[in-house]
Amino acid sequence: MSLGYLTRRLFSVLLVLVIVSFAVFAITMILPGNAAVMILGEYATEDQLLALAEVLGLNRPWYIQYFEWAGNILQADWGMSLRLSLPVGEVVGDAFWNSASLAVTALGTVIIIAIPLGILAALYRGSKVDLGIGLFAYVGTAMPEFVTATLLLVFLAGSAGGYLPAGGFIAPNESFPGFVSHVILPAGTLGLILMAHIARQVRSEMSDVLASDYIRAARLKGLRERTVIRRHALPNSLAPAVAVISLDIGYLLGGIIVVEEIFAWPGLGRLLIYALENRDLPVIQAITLLLAAVYALSNLFSDLVIAALDPRVRY
């Protein structure tokens, strides 16, 4: 595709991130009371508050505060965590990789299972297989993560079951089997719900493809059905499948917050809950921006993949 298209897309990603950063900045700065109150608590005196406000530069006009903050971000200076007395970059950095390992595991499993499920359901429309997958899909999309997580814990990790650990984290480079045993439940929780979404969408896309004129034309050429599916139907449903998955990444990023909290997985989600409960502004801002950036970039990536798969898409 043309360089012009790529440039324009990157530009619009940037624009979106600027808007998000502005919104994040505005939200966190509008918190009741100001940052000084947050830090010093409710019982601080006026003088103490004023002094801290001076130090933090909270009395300057908002646009100056915004630009200084934005400028710092761009120079990779994310500030200091208000509660943990550590550089935000450090704190967030570790959490990021932990979340990434969970997200990638969940997403990978989902892609491998959900897409074939959706295709199967479309191929055998109206059959018991389709009904079963449909039921799974409907139930799956109706269960919030915490419900799925809780039920999985009850049945697989409790003292009655006791097969899997109820929470915690072991890094993959420390002990791979340990990592696996700890990642199964959280990834499974995320995965089940995503699988339900994606299988349903893929089924719908694939059904549309199977009903198209060119599939009919291929069958009327006397091609065997498996050739029709493999050569004619599947390639046309790949691009929509990628589009669906990229949409669901947004859902994944939301769900990961709850799942990490329940399973005590030390990732961005758990960190965010902690930061929200403790009003740790720099951390909140950093994580929100990071997650929005991940989402926007993953959308861009999937657009590129779609362009590679579909010859009609030529920007």
Partner: protein, 559 residues
């Protein structure tokens, strides 16, 4: 390769050999409201080297017959009786595997819309080659070479290049040639053509028709040609069968169908085929008639470029919907505007209806309008438009009564109390029963909806009515009645009319003058009776060549 004749030995005596025989075939569809009889006791035969034209309007069952022959029926279809035989072999008794062997090799099909019947993500060459690999046992490499040769015989100028392209990189005509090449690839005994030119432009359609004729000559292929266009079929078929509501009402040699039609329906169909010699127009306005409307230098540009677009896509051109069009419309005439899709005729219609921004000027009734915004209510009342698509031109949530009363209320044509009576008058003028006032659009047929749209336009008591392809989405028999209705209305009310269409024969029946548009420009403007003069523009002549007068209808007496 194309000289080999089917799978039969070349020396055998082949005349009179029945290739396709359909005997007493009946087909039902099981719907929620009971069984629907799609085909009733069909009896048809096609002999070696003959082309049978199957003519029917929408819902006649002609397409169902094609699916039945290809054995590609939906689950809710049930074959009640009869047989379908290919060279004596009963297709109904074949197993699925055997049918797969037959499709593409012994019977193949050319579809209506090449844009949707070709796989968008597979190269054209591969789509031809796969048939050769599957049925003629060629290796992929051999198949590609053979495919290229096939493309050459269908008139593609650079076959090697075309093999590498994707469907979206080829024009409609090129794609249809690919589909035809694929159909001929395995030298089938029978080819079914399902309205192959309907989705194409006039001139391209003519080229494909010529191609069909040529291939027919060269290969002596047996063909079933399905169409809704009796005039078109008359030029290429040996036998003609007319089908209506699942029943074959007439089956005859082509010439006899037109010279001595047996069934009333056939006679009606023939009468409905537009023929330039059969004028249906109102009397022409006098020579000295003044101009009602003048367009001067009207242009429409699409694609306002923003700065960013210009930076990143410097070679994206401005497209013109219309380019410097100057046209006058005389009082009380019916001006025809003819062109293919993309010619700008609809753009001009939208400009005149006040729906499109434009450069240039319009002069109407002594007032000059230079921009869309300056167009006032008087103009909008005096100029009305009727659109092409009957399904989309009426608000589905409003009853007919409400739809017709809008212009009456808006322009205060009659006092409130007289509105119901006026609605009754309007409905009767367009030959619709009074009760329709209480119906919703979805309860009306396409032709009926179009009549309502016409009634709505005339309700405003306009001076000019613009008809933008109002008959193109309708069946042939309905087309004729709607066209006649329009002309009658014009005559009765003295309204001026602009009639836009791509059907040259139709416009020659209706119009007093004809304007020809090509790629946004007006290229020709002439009195209808001068259509075939020598001084016509070359494009006009090309159009006339592409749409010759229907064969066999010349001798029909004018009404």
């Amino acid at each position: 390769m194309v000289e080999k004749l089917g799978n039969l030995p070349a020396e055998a005596s082949l005349d009179g050999l029945t290739v396709l025989a359909i005997r007493d075939y009946s087909l039902n569809y099981n719907t929620t409201s009971g069984p629907f009889e799609a085909l009733k006791s069909i009896n048809l035969e096609i002999n070696r080297g003959q082309t049978l034209g199957l003519v029917g309007e929408s819902g006649s069952g002609k397409t169902s017959l094609a699916w039945a022959i290809m054995r590609y029926l939906p689950d809710n279809a049930s074959e009640v009786s009869g047989s379908i035989s290919l060279l004596g072999e009963n297709l109904r008794s074949k197993s699925h595997q055997e049918i797969l062997e037959i499709r593409g090799r012994r019977i193949s099909m050319v579809f209506q819309d090449p844009s949707t019947s070709l796989n968008p993500v597979i190269r054209l060459g591969d789509q031809i080659a796969e048939v050769l690999v599957r049925h003629r046992g060629l290796t992929p490499k051999q198949a590609l070479t053979e495919g290229e040769a096939l493309l050459a015989t269908t008139g593609i100028t650079k076959p090697a290049e075309m093999m590498d392209r994707y469907p979206h990189q080829a024009s409609g005509g090129e794609k249809q040639r690919v589909v035809i090449a694929t159909a001929f690839a395995c030298n089938p005994e029978l080819i079914i053509f399902d309205e192959p030119t309907t989705a194409l432009d006039i001139i391209t359609a003519r080229q494909i028709l010529d191609l069909f004729d040529r291939l027919r000559e060269e290969t002596q292929v047996t063909a079933l040609y399905i169409s809704h266009d009796l005039g078109l079929v008359s030029r290429i078929a040996d036998d003609v069968a007319v089908i209506r509501s699942g029943l074959v009402v007439e089956e005859e040699l082509c010439d006899r169908v037109f010279s001595a039609p047996q069934h009333q329906y056939t006679r009606d169909l023939i009468a409905a085929v537009p023929h330039p010699n059969r004028r249906i127009a109102s009397p022409a306005p006098e020579e000295s008639a003044s101009d009602l409307l003048n367009m001067t230098g009207v242009s429409v540009r699409y694609g306002e470029t923003s700065i960013l677009t210009r930076i990143f896509q410097p070679d994206r051109e401005l497209t013109y919907g219309a380019c410097d069009v100057s046209l006058n419309v005389r009082l009380r005439e019916l001006l025809g505007v003819v062109g293919e899709s993309g010619s700008g005729k609809s753009t001009i219609a939208k400009v005149l209806a006040g729906l499109q921004d434009f450069d240039g000027s319009l002069r109407f009734n002594e007032r000059v309008f230079a921009t869309r915004k300056s167009i006032n209510t008087d103009y909008r009342r005096a100029v009305q438009i009727v659109f092409q698509n009957p399904d989309a031109s009426l608000n589905p949530r409003q009853k007919i009564r409400e739809i017709l009363s809008r212009p009456l209320k808006l322009y205060k044509i009659v006092p409130r109390s007289e509105i119901p009576q006026r609605i009754r008058d309007l409905l009767s003028k367009v030959l619709l029963p009074e009760e329709f006032a209480d119906r919703y659009p979805h309860q009306l047929s396409g032709g009926e909806k179009q009549r309502v749209a016409i009634a709505r336009a005339f309700a405003a008591e306009p001076e000019l009515v613009i008809c933008d392809e109002i008959t193109s989405s309708l069946d042939v028999s309905v087309q004729a009645s709607v066209a006649k209705l329009l002309v009658d209305l014009q005559r009765d009310t003295g309204t001026t009319c602009i009639f836009i269409t791509h059907d040259l024969n139709l416009i020659r029946q209706l119009a007093h003058r004809i304007a020809v548009m090509y790629r946004g420009s007006l290229v020709d403007l002439f009195e209808t009776n001068e259509a075939e003069n020598a001084e016509r523009h070359s494009y006009t002549r090309a159009l006339l060549d592409a749409v010759p007068v229907p064969a066999g209808t010349e001798s029909s007496p004018s009404p």
